[in-house]
Every structure is written in structure tokens, then in C-alpha cells.
Amino acid sequence: MHLDALRSRRSGLRPNDFTEAPLDTWIGRVDGLESRPLPGEYGLWDCRNNRLAWLAMQQDYFLDAISAARARYGPSRIALLLGTSTSSIGATEEAYRQITPDGQLPARLRDSMVHTAHSLGQFAQYALGLTGICATVTTACSSSAKVFAQAERMIRCGIADAAVVGGVDTLCGSVLFGFNSLELVSTEPCRPFDVNRRGISIGEAGGFALLERDGSGPRLLGYGESSDAHHMSTPHPEGLGARLAIQDALSRSGLAPADVGYINLHGTASARNDAVEARVIADIFPETTHASSTKGWTGHALGAAGFLEASISLLAIADELAPGNLNASELDPVCGPQLRIHNARLARPVALSQSFGFGGSNCVLAFGAERAA
């Protein structure tokens, strides 16, 4: 289904119908979560974010894969590492809307485990039947990219044999009106790298993956991490942190820039991010590398963006499809030949996925194809 949307260039964005107070913007909203409460035994964690986590777990035979992994490694030897930005804060916002005249939060929301970021990790730990190390990672928009790096380290030093990594972030008032206060949200569907881009579209997403040391699946070749040390909500003007993260990822993966077939860019469609990121790509990679942001399809899924875009990078490798920049009609002149409007056939089966977040937290993941049999 995702692959079909990528191939046919069908965006999932729609006019904002999420916030009670009007806000003129476009969003990527997952349908049906409002009418899909968690099963009774998970009621303590019921909220939009954990509903999306639950829905994501049901996809693609993931629960079957986890059952098999639990039997193979034992539930205590599989780390569970999940990224989010705001987790279940939407439920806290809801509780404030329903406050009683004497200042009490409504009982249903007071007695639930949804008012802290780790609501996500705790719920997933319970739902997946895992008993080992579990962490909720909260580095804003790089969160669910960094869990891949964290998992690799844990497996390498032997405290886990495998890891479930993932990311879940859902729409809520604080991010929609928060990004609006920073004058970053677009009144039209976001147009990454377009010369006339007007800002970001906020989306929501959830996803999980099982990482193992050996096996026949696609491979995490390496990762790079860095800090901008510049500003809380705008990127370093020369993209210093982005460059450091890319170099770290290439070096840990043993790759040269020319080996990279596709780069899934952070590409939020904000004026600053795209200008800085395009320049960095033009400086480092040859024109044979195809680069794009897929946020025109999905919007910016914030803490889940790293995972979402890692998945798209894996789809790109598996199906030899390099997505273009959906919604862009005229690329910003700062873009090098790497930035493409149209989809193309992937030339080399190596993909990078870039995630840059508030607080200057950067993470770049490198993926490769399945090992030849």
C-alpha cells in the first residue's frame, strides 16, 4: 500500500480537520483512531498515540515475527527502543479541556498511564511481551532514527541479542499550535525543496522493526550522530551538524559518497532546513546520488519521522524505487543535481536516511540490501 502510494505519487495530506480551534494548514492524519480504543486489558494506556502504536504492531505480520523472536532469544534478551517527540501528551491536553470547576482532572484520565513520555515504551513492552531493556527516546525529530544506533550499540556490547526499534508520534494541539507559533506551518500541502515552499505539514506515524545481529534481511550498515550546538529550533547555517552526522555514517558504514544510491532527506519544507540541507548534499555527494524528501506524501511525523523515513529508504532499496520530491514543481536554485522532482529507478542499493531535530540533534542512518544468498 505504501509502495503503491510512492509509485503513483499519491499524497496522504489533507486540510486540517484535527484541531477544535481553526488552524489553516494541511496535516497527515491516520483515519479511524478515534473509534479504535485499545482492548480492555490495555485500557490503562488508551490514548491516540498508543492506539497508533497498537495499529502499527498489527501490520505486516510483525506480531508473528516478535513471537518467533521471543521463542528464539527469550523475552529478556530483546531490547525495546522507541522514539517519540510528544508521546501521549494529547491525552494530557484532553484532560485539561475537561477539567472540573474545582480544578480536578477527569477521573478516567487521572487514573491512566498516559501523562508521561514513557507511556509509549511501557505500553509496547506489555503488548509485545518483552521483559528486557526498554527505553523511550526523546530527542525530538531524530528520536526514532537514534533508536537504530542505540540498538546497534546494545547488540554489539552483548546486553541484547536483538532489538525492537520503532517510533510513534501523533497529532496533538501542542505541536500544531506550537509550530504555528514559530511560523513554520504551511497553509498548503508542504513542498519540500520547492523555491516557493511555505513551511511544513505536520503528520503522524507509527512503526516497528526487529533488528538482529545475523539474518537475511536488509542491513543497517551504519549510523552517524551529532549536535548542531547552534540554536533550539533552527539549523546551523552551514549545516555543520548535518555534515558531521553524514561523515560519521559514511565512515561507520565503510561507504564513499558515490556508493549511495538514494538519500531520504529531512526536507521539512521550512525555508531554512531545506536551503541548508540542499547545500550540504550538493557539497558531499556526486550527481549520481538521487535525493529527496518524502514529506510531501506523509507530512513531518516528528518523533516518528526517523522510523517512517527509514522504512521508506528500505522500500526504496527493496523495490529499486527512488522517490522524488512530491509537491515540488520548481526546485530551489540552491539544490544540486542530486535533488529530483520525479521518481526514478534506484541505481545502487544503498540508502541514507537523514533526521535533524529541535535541540540540534542529528542522526543519519545507512541501509543496504539483503545479503546475496
Partner: protein, 274 residues
């Protein structure tokens, strides 16, 4: 998971700040039971590293985390700009969360952009890197009652896997407004540790660690008097380790989750040499 082999990291720097324990020297004496805590409580630490205007503007969470981070690096004699870091917090800045939830009810379009970008869980880590000019990566984790233990393990894993010294900071502040009904935390409590693979001339102690399966009920409990001293702050689960560090030697069990434990044995060099 059966008990893993014991491995060791070196403790190179340490810091602690709470309203009645405003520094590791005083905290060590109090936690070891050698002195009484000071009668006066301070409201919050002064983050000396920030320029004066930023010092005043910094939210409590940022002021607290930056100050304990700076003191731990100073104790280790290491340049903060070179250190990767791990930050753990249960609730990040509860005062800002309260502000956001409150303003969204009636006037969402008046949301403050500064409060919004300071609301992210990694705000303190982000400001720390800006203040120190540090381009090394940071990690931030939030694991509810297990935040301290899981953050400590993350720092240990980074030392074990990539070798360099790592700064670890854990902190929580007090809850505000209606949030006090659901997010329990009072006072300010922040701690910092600098961990390294190898001992140096200035090493404070060796931390031998091992993970195993087991109920969180096996975790070492802090001395109730010390818990009261930090007002049952959400990060009070760090106290058992700091009590042992104050005494100079001993072993604690920290819960990493409902069914997973981290054992830490503290050995001072003085003792190891005997």
C-alpha cells in the same frame, strides 16, 4: 536473562544538586550520615556556564541540568565540548507542559514560540551543547520510574561500545498546576556522572556492573530520610547509587524495568589498592 558477566567503567566526575543538597561535597557528607543537611533550601541552581541574561531566562529544567552537567565535567577535569552525553528525565519541564496544556484550552493561537521549543524533552541537552559548543551527539531517554537506571545503562553502553568518556545527566523538577494530580514530582533534583573506559589519575571509583532478570521489587531502596530531603522528586531513584558513592563502597540494584535489573558495585581506588 541470567546474570551477565561483571564489567567495569571508571567514574571520573560526579555532581548532585537538590534544594537542600546544593552540591556533591555537602550531599556526600549528608548522604553518608556524617552531617545534618543545611536548614535553608535554595530555589534553584545558578547555571554559571550561561551568560547572565540566559541564566535568568533558562527554565528550571535547563538551569538544573546544565549546572550539574558542568560540575560533573569540572570534577572530571574534562572539556565538555568533547564529551558525548546522555540525559535522562522522567517528565522534562513540567512547568512548561502545564503552560502548554493550559493555553491550548482557550487561546491556542497565543502559544509562546519560546515555551514551545523549550517544551521538547531534549531542551536541556540542546542548550547544554549550545553553551559548551559541543558537536558530539547526545541521547535523551525518558523511562518513567526507571529513567535514572536506563539512562545510566545507556551511558555505560556508550562507554563500552565506543570507548570515549561520556557525560551522564539525570534530572527532574517540580510539577505544576493540574499536572500535580498525574505527574508526581516535587523540588529539583539533578545529578551528573562522567564515565570512562579506563582509569585515570583522577578517577573517583570503579563501577562494576551487570544486568540480570528480576523483579523491580528487588531494587535497592533509598534511605527514607534522604527521599524526604529531595521531596520524593521523580528522579529520587538515583539516590541509592549516590548513597553508596557517598560511603565510598558498596553495591546497589537498580530496576531497569518491571522485570530487569542493573547491579552496580562501587569500588574506590583506595579500597582496590588495599
Amino acid at each position: 536473562m541470567t546474570a551477565g558477566p561483571w564489567q567495569a567503567v571508571s567514574l571520573e566526575g560526579i555532581s548532585l544538586w537538590a534544594s537542600k543538597l546544593p552540591g556533591w561535597d555537602v550531599a556526600a557528607a549528608v548522604l553518608a550520615g556524617q552531617t545534618e543537611p543545611p536548614a535553608a533550601a535554595l530555589r534553584r541552581p545558578v547555571p554559571e556556564m550561561l551568560p547572565p541574561a540566559e541564566r535568568r531566562r533558562a527554565p528550571d529544567s535547563v538551569a538544573l541540568a546544565i549546572e550539574v552537567a558542568a560540575r560533573a565535567c569540572a570534577a572530571a577535569g574534562l572539556d565538555p565540548a568533547q564529551l558525548p552525553s546522555v540525559f535522562a528525565t522522567t517528565h522534562a519541564d513540567l512547568a512548561i507542559t502545564d503552560y502548554l496544556c493550559e493555553i491550548l484550552v482557550r487561546t491556542p493561537l497565543l502559544t509562546s514560540p519560546t515555551k514551545f521549543h523549550n517544551s521538547v524533552h531534549n531542551a536541556a541537552a540542546g542548550y547544554w551543547c549550545i553553551a559548551t559548543g559541543c558537536h558530539a551527539p547526545y541521547m535523551t531517554v525518558s523511562v518513567y520510574e526507571h529513567s535514572f537506571a536506563v539512562g545510566l545503562l545507556e551511558a555505560i553502553v556508550q562507554v563500552a561500545s565506543d570507548g570515549g568518556p561520556v557525560l551522564y545527566v539525570a534530572y527532574d523538577i517540580e510539577s505544576r498546576g493540574p499536572l500535580t494530580q498525574v505527574a508526581l514530582s516535587r523540588g529539583l533534583l539533578g545529578v551528573g556522572l562522567v564515565l570512562a573506559r579506563n582509569r585515570s589519575a583522577s578517577s573517583i571509583a570503579q563501577l562494576c556492573w551487570s544486568i540480570r532478570s528480576g523483579s523491580k521489587n528487588e531494587a535497592t531502596r533509598p534511605d527514607p530520610a534522604n527521599s524526604r530531603l529531595v521531596q520524593d522528586n521523580a528522579m529520587a531513584s538515583c539516590l541509592p547509587l549516590f548513597e553508596v558513592l557517598a560511603r565510598g563502597a558498596g553495591q546497589v540494584t537498580l530496576a531497569l524495568g518491571p522485570d530487569s535489573l542493573l547491579d552496580v558495585r562501587v569500588q574506590t581506588d583506595r579500597e582496590a589498592a588495599l
